[in-house]
Amino acid sequence: MSDLQAWLALLGLGAFHGINPGMGWLFAVALGLQEQRRSAVLRALLPIALGHALSIGAVVLILSLLQDQLPDAWLRWPVGVGLALFGLYKLFRSRHPRWVGMRVNFFDLTAWSFLMATAHGAGLMLAPVLLGWGRGMDHASHAAGQAAGGHDHAAMLRAAGEHAEHTTALAAAATTPLLGLAATAIHTLGYLLVMGLIAVIVYEKVGLAILRRAWFNLDVVWAVALVITGVVTLLL
């Protein structure tokens, strides 16, 4: 997987998460409707995105740490099989999320979004990108990547730009916390843009009546996506 592909995949998965009403835009719209103000919709977006980012970031961090320590196959098989099984489970039985509350502050919204993203395996869905990206590096470049981790973020990205062709160099860096941060950020950006756009359009123009006609079963699409990412992780 090339760098560009990886970044685009992260952005695209962010957009896919943004489309899911259960991941945030619906809550933002409902808060706007409850207070009858657009500013309430907008105010909800940042904490929701933050919670999502925290959940994604945690998965990225854990995966990269494990990647450091374990042989590739040891990681890919459990993650891939786990994802596929989780997706199949969600296909056949969707548990009822336990959350009640419309009167929410910044912290509540962040916590809610973190829980939703985590419970739906949003971060794990990024596994094939993260693992595929890190593949092909030998132990030497691995060590180089760890050394590069000491640099500041901007220098890191600059370096990434200069060596765009040298995938292995960047792949090495993929296991560093800073690049993990960048991956989380780009994913969250895609997520926030799509979620925000849908929330504002539904609140301002379309109205919730759209849900009656167009609320196709996203739970199923989501579950299928989990299964697919699991399989992709295995086949990488």
């Binding site: 009403p21 259960g22 619906l26 809550f27 933002a28 719209v29 409902a30 808060l31 409707l33 409850q34 009858q36 039985r93 969707s94 009822h96 999320p97 336990r98 959350w99 009640v100 509350g101 419309m102 009167r103 809610w112 919730l208 009546a209 849900l211 009656r212 609320w215 079963n217 739970d219």
Partner: protein
């Protein structure tokens, strides 16, 4: 949105054997399609496997609260009826999907399981809500208090346990509902199982021991917040009808009787300046009557109490219906301004003294009175049955009565109503109807997270 839903074709009505000993209670299916040849008739009936349940209120497994933004799961089907027996503490889960006209019992939750897992007994009202199915219970297995709420998983129907974490001073319990937009639960008070299952206890009533308060709860933290007292003379604070629109923090509750003058009343609760408050908005006086025509319980008073036993609010929150089960009067109010209800319609049917007849059979005096009301989602059709609770039926209508169901038509502006002359349904002889649920939803099944 919900008001534009398709017109209901079927109603589910619980039927009970008032003797509690001769035959099982049943779930009847009534044809509501005016174009059908079986319109206004029972087209299916499922008997329960046990005798003496006294089926009372019941509800759906799923509703619009499933669309709440914090936990949307829009693909839970409105398919199963959750049917508690108030005397047996048994709960039946009925599946309406294979054949809507012949619902099947797919699971029976036995009383022991409810006692063991919740410590409650006498399950009464069920509402589907954000965390699953909520069921109210009048008291504990010994017939005492406190009464409260327990939860069922809305997919497996497993009993999950008590809802309350901090119940504060709350002891008596009856109905409950919520303002989802305000994370607020409201509960009302009737009496413990021991105070109601052998009929109305006149001594307890005159001592003001039945419920006279409402309780405000934090729905999210399951914590009691405030007790709203209506006054010691107000006895039996029953059906709660909060506004359906989640941005409107107000609702109505019916009070059965005032010890002062036997009047009945409707109160409005509302949130103002951050404080929940309550005030009386409708009072219906008792009607003087010849003691010779009154049951023993009322002879000494020389009057018929109206006995508001059920109320119901249309989905647009503009029209309120009030059942006066004692006087046999059914009232309609315009509540566009909820602080100042305006009477817009009245129909007499049955009643302890009046025994008013239906236009379909004008020479037949009817027993019982307007009781459990249900309103179609578009607000154009209203249905009600005439039984309250077997031991109480016996006290107020000692000569007994047949179980019937009627329908009223309401004009598009929601003001005024008239009995449909084609709709006077008699249930199977010996059985009485109680709560009605409309296929596809009605005005007291759904709660909403969106205005």
């Amino acid at each position: 949105m919900a008001m534009q839903a398709p017109v209901e074709q079927l109603a589910y009505v619980v039927l009970l054997d008032p003797t509690g000993t001769t035959r099982p209670d049943a779930m009847a299916v009534v044809d509501l399609d005016p174009a059908s040849t079986t319109f206004a008739q029972v087209v299916g009936q499922t008997d329960m496997p046990n005798i003496g349940d006294e089926l009372h209120h019941f509800g759906w497994n799923a509703c619009s609260a499933c669309l709440c933004p914090y936990a949307p799961h829009p693909h839970v089907e409105r398919r199963y009826l959750v049917v508690p027996g108030i005397n047996s503490s048994r709960i039946y889960i009925m599946d309406t999907k294979p054949d809507p006209k012949k619902p099947q019992i797919i699971r029976t939750i036995e009383p022991e399981e409810i006692f063991k897992r919740t410590g409650y007994a006498s399950p009464h009202t069920t509402h589907c809500g954000p965390e699953g199915i909520y069921v109210s219970a009048l008291g504990d297995p010994d017939g005492g208090g406190p009464g409260g709420i327990f939860m069922l998983d809305h997919e497996s129907f497993d009993v999950l346990g008590r809802w309350e974490i901090d119940r504060g001073p709350q002891h008596l319990h009856y109905d409950f509902w919520w303002h989802l937009g305000f994370d607020t639960m409201i509960t009302s008070e009737w009496g413990t199982p021991n105070m109601v299952r052998r009929g109305l206890d006149p001594e307890a009533l005159l001592a003001g021991k039945y419920g006279n308060s409402m309780h405000i709860w934090d729905l999210r933290r399951r914590k009691h917040l405030k007790k709203l007292e209506l006054g010691p003379e107000q006895q039996m604070v029953l059906e709660l009808r909060p506004a359906h629109n989640p941005t409107r923090p107000w609702g109505f509750v019916g009070v059965v009787v005032s010890l002062k003058d036997l009047s009945a009343s409707v109160w409005m609760w509302f949130l103002e300046k951050g404080e929940w408050q309550i005030k009386k908005v409708i009072e219906i006086p008792a009607e003087p009557a010849d003691p010779a025509l009154l049951p023993p319980l009322l002879k000494g008073f020389g009057a018929v109490p109206p006995l508001i036993t059920d109320i119901n609010l249309s989905l647009d929150d503009k029209t309120l219906y009030v059942s006066c089960w004692g006087t046999g009067e059914f009232l309609q109010y315009d509540v566009s301004d909820p602080h100042n209800p305006r009477k817009t319609g009245s129909v007499h049917l049955g009643g302890i003294v009046r025994k008013a007849a239906h236009p379909a059979q004008q020479d037949r005096p009817l027993g019982g009175g307007p009781q459990m009301v249900e309103i179609s989602r578009d607000g154009r059709r209203v249905y009600f049955t005439n039984s309250l609770y077997a031991p109480w039926d016996e006290q107020f209508y000692p000569e007994g009565f047949d179980g019937w169901m009627v329908k009223l038509d309401v004009p598009a502006d929601g003001q005024g109503m008239s009995l449909d002359p084609r709709f006077l349904l008699d249930f199977e002889k010996g059985l009485r109807g109680h709560q009605i649920r409309l296929q596809g939803g009605d005005s007291s099944s759904d709660s909403y997270c969106y205005p």
